[in-house]
Symmetry: C3
Subunit: 350 residues, 3 copies
Amino acid sequence: MKLSELSHVLSEQGFSNRIEGSPDLVVRSANTLEDAQEGEISFLANPKYKNKLTDTRASAVIVSPDETIPDGLTVLRCSNPYGAITATIILVHGYRKHPQWGIDARSCIADSAEIGENANIGPYVTISERTVIGNNATIYPGCFIGDHVTIGDDVILYPNVVIYDKSSIGNRVALHAGTVVGQDGLGYASVDGKWLKIPQIGRVVIDDDVEMGANCALDRATMGETYIGKGTKFSDLVVIGHGTKLGERCMLVAQVGIAGSVDVGNNVTLAGQVGVAGHISIGDDVLVSAKSAVWSSIEKGAHYLGFPATNAYQYRRQAALVQHLPDLRKRLRQLEAEVERLSQRLDESS
Amino acid sequence: MKLSELSHVLSEQGFSNRIEGSPDLVVRSANTLEDAQEGEISFLANPKYKNKLTDTRASAVIVSPDETIPDGLTVLRCSNPYGAITATIILVHGYRKHPQWGIDARSCIADSAEIGENANIGPYVTISERTVIGNNATIYPGCFIGDHVTIGDDVILYPNVVIYDKSSIGNRVALHAGTVVGQDGLGYASVDGKWLKIPQIGRVVIDDDVEMGANCALDRATMGETYIGKGTKFSDLVVIGHGTKLGERCMLVAQVGIAGSVDVGNNVTLAGQVGVAGHISIGDDVLVSAKSAVWSSIEKGAHYLGFPATNAYQYRRQAALVQHLPDLRKRLRQLEAEVERLSQRLDESS
Amino acid sequence: MKLSELSHVLSEQGFSNRIEGSPDLVVRSANTLEDAQEGEISFLANPKYKNKLTDTRASAVIVSPDETIPDGLTVLRCSNPYGAITATIILVHGYRKHPQWGIDARSCIADSAEIGENANIGPYVTISERTVIGNNATIYPGCFIGDHVTIGDDVILYPNVVIYDKSSIGNRVALHAGTVVGQDGLGYASVDGKWLKIPQIGRVVIDDDVEMGANCALDRATMGETYIGKGTKFSDLVVIGHGTKLGERCMLVAQVGIAGSVDVGNNVTLAGQVGVAGHISIGDDVLVSAKSAVWSSIEKGAHYLGFPATNAYQYRRQAALVQHLPDLRKRLRQLEAEVERLSQRLDESS
């Protein structure tokens, strides 16, 4: 694809842009500034990597409108370089092409299950009684889907995904390998000094356009629903406790854990390894920085950080003061000595 | 089931109780205060949710003997509302009904394996040589059980559980999907600047009545045993290092990690994301709060918290002082100025 | 095997040693000091367990040259007891003997896949189009290997391992059960207030002699490669973000998470539950203590610790001062009172 053609298509998609350099050069694929070779297009979105513009072998680079560039480098200027490179990758590479199994004879589908049109179901898949799956499902080998599950259209389940009974999965949901939906959470009542298991009669509901990484685990609700809102995305090894409800377009980075009965708003970002205690609420548009421990509710729009998590500005101020503790102690000692001296002078002068 | 009948059965089970309101109303199912509809029974155990009593549409609610309730609400008073709702759910709903496979022809069971009576083994299950499984086993699709494994009666292995060779699993154990038992831990000796793998010749022993969540991982011992005591419960993504031994009735919340060669007593609770360093011991009845880092042994009955974990009372005191650091610094500055003024006055007066 | 024979073989392997006690006693197996029985050999490497020498029933113990020992205990003295016990275990027990499947008829191997000699492939394994696997592969049941994957010689994939399309795996790599290689990372561009998925066109490359624990997850690169260097070892539930590159002989303990685009040097040790933020670099020979939060780059050879991670010496100093905060506040209060008294005395004297 010629750069001029790419520029034209990107404009049509809403990424207005202009070329500086050779519009006729041919773009075969996309790559990072570091790894790109001739014939590849790259991008600069994070100013931290600005110095890589000098050394890149990419034939063209997508940059922001006011970026300064080395002489001779062909660039495509656009106000959203990250969006534009994404559109470019979609144009040039497209999304993953899945193996085509049709409905593999080595799968095991219950008679009472209903499968939509155009199903692509690999070997060693189990689909249980009274489960309903929409159109265009891609289900990789080794997946297990329990009884009474409902799955929408255009869903992708990667290998060895497990969906427990009664779960509900929306349209265009993608779950990566090893993710488990709907297992029993820690639900026990203490009776006569023993743990009596509480039957976990609730379920998990995952709404449309959710994607989750590998080896996540979502507890079914004890009663009622564990719920994941539209367009929310998880990275790998995320754990969601029973009865927790997440809003729309949240982003949960790897190894985040949310305990049970938590209410999370829309557009919430929890960075890697964040932990959230049970029975609290997190408002819309909240950002919690990596590895923070959230022990109490967070108001709408706040940026939290720390152990325990607190307002990020306050936390940074406290953390800076902790680093100055050796200095504070030294000043306290000097002051003690000075006060002692003053006291002696006063004694002498009186 | 009529409320009066439920009340009677609960009493027989040791949950003495009395009804305030309509004994004749019919209870069809159980639900949370928030989600309950007419015909459903709910409960109040956490006083935090007290205000939900006013809005609930539940037909009846199980509450503690001295709880104040809105006018017109039918309640069943019991000194252990959580135990009573559990008994109610068991009565009304029962535990999960598993699919019935018999021994599915698409499973792969070694000739030398011994399977007890009434086995329920799904497709795509592998059971290897000289493995012995007790009566009433439910083994979901995709499970792998290695050589020389011993499994007791009434065990449930959910989909894609993996049990490595030589492991021993007690009676009434339930392992949720994706959990792995007995893989090699990090065992290498540094020889000539390289890591030489140590054959991991030990095993994992899980005692009776243990339940584990999804995607956990328990290392086999290098030599000897990794051991999980009777009635201990894990949530999801818990990791246990090689040679670690846990006592009875412990509760490990999601994403807890315990390193190798740790001795944990009975009735220990480790909250979510707690980490425990290797080669230490944790006494009976210890509670460690969420996300704490345990770097040294903890005495019986203690409540620990923090990074590193310390006595919870001391930790909270320190944490409060850290929050007051800006104030402490301000007071130090004022004192420095005041001492400077005093010093000048003394200079002038002398 | 007689102790004298063992001593001889160990010497030949470079572990020079000498016996104190009965060279003729027979060693049948190896065990811990605690669990060893007659006929078993044990070792003492960690001085913390020195007192267990007194009570052990082991017939012989490998100890360091200058260790003091109880009367009557037969020992084999060696400067590297951990290396010598490893060599002993290899001699006496050897490594795991895998089940022998040949190429099981219940596996599903694409016509265009190439499998090397002496393959040992269990039931329910899927190997997809144009994938190439070297000699002596052991692939346990339930593994899935996608299209265009390259795998070297002498590789072991334990049950339910998933390798996504285009990944490359070196020689002598072992991946434990449930580990996932090459799933899509969190790659979305914000376009018009929605998350637009970026096709993840990169891949994962794992070099020779890498071993990983159970239920790990390695994101494929968005573009280019996620890379794991030769001889690097992971414990369980480790997560590696997209585009991150690890050097040789690193050791990542359980539940470590590294975000995307991180450069890690050689011989780096990250202890359990350590988190590393994205777009930073960690030098060779770095050690980060358990549960630390690494938010910025770390220079070669450093030992880091804390939340956020900082130089371990500085961190310990700060942590000690935080513990002394109650004392510092008390001294500040006394000083305030003393200055107030001085001020009054000065008022009175003037």
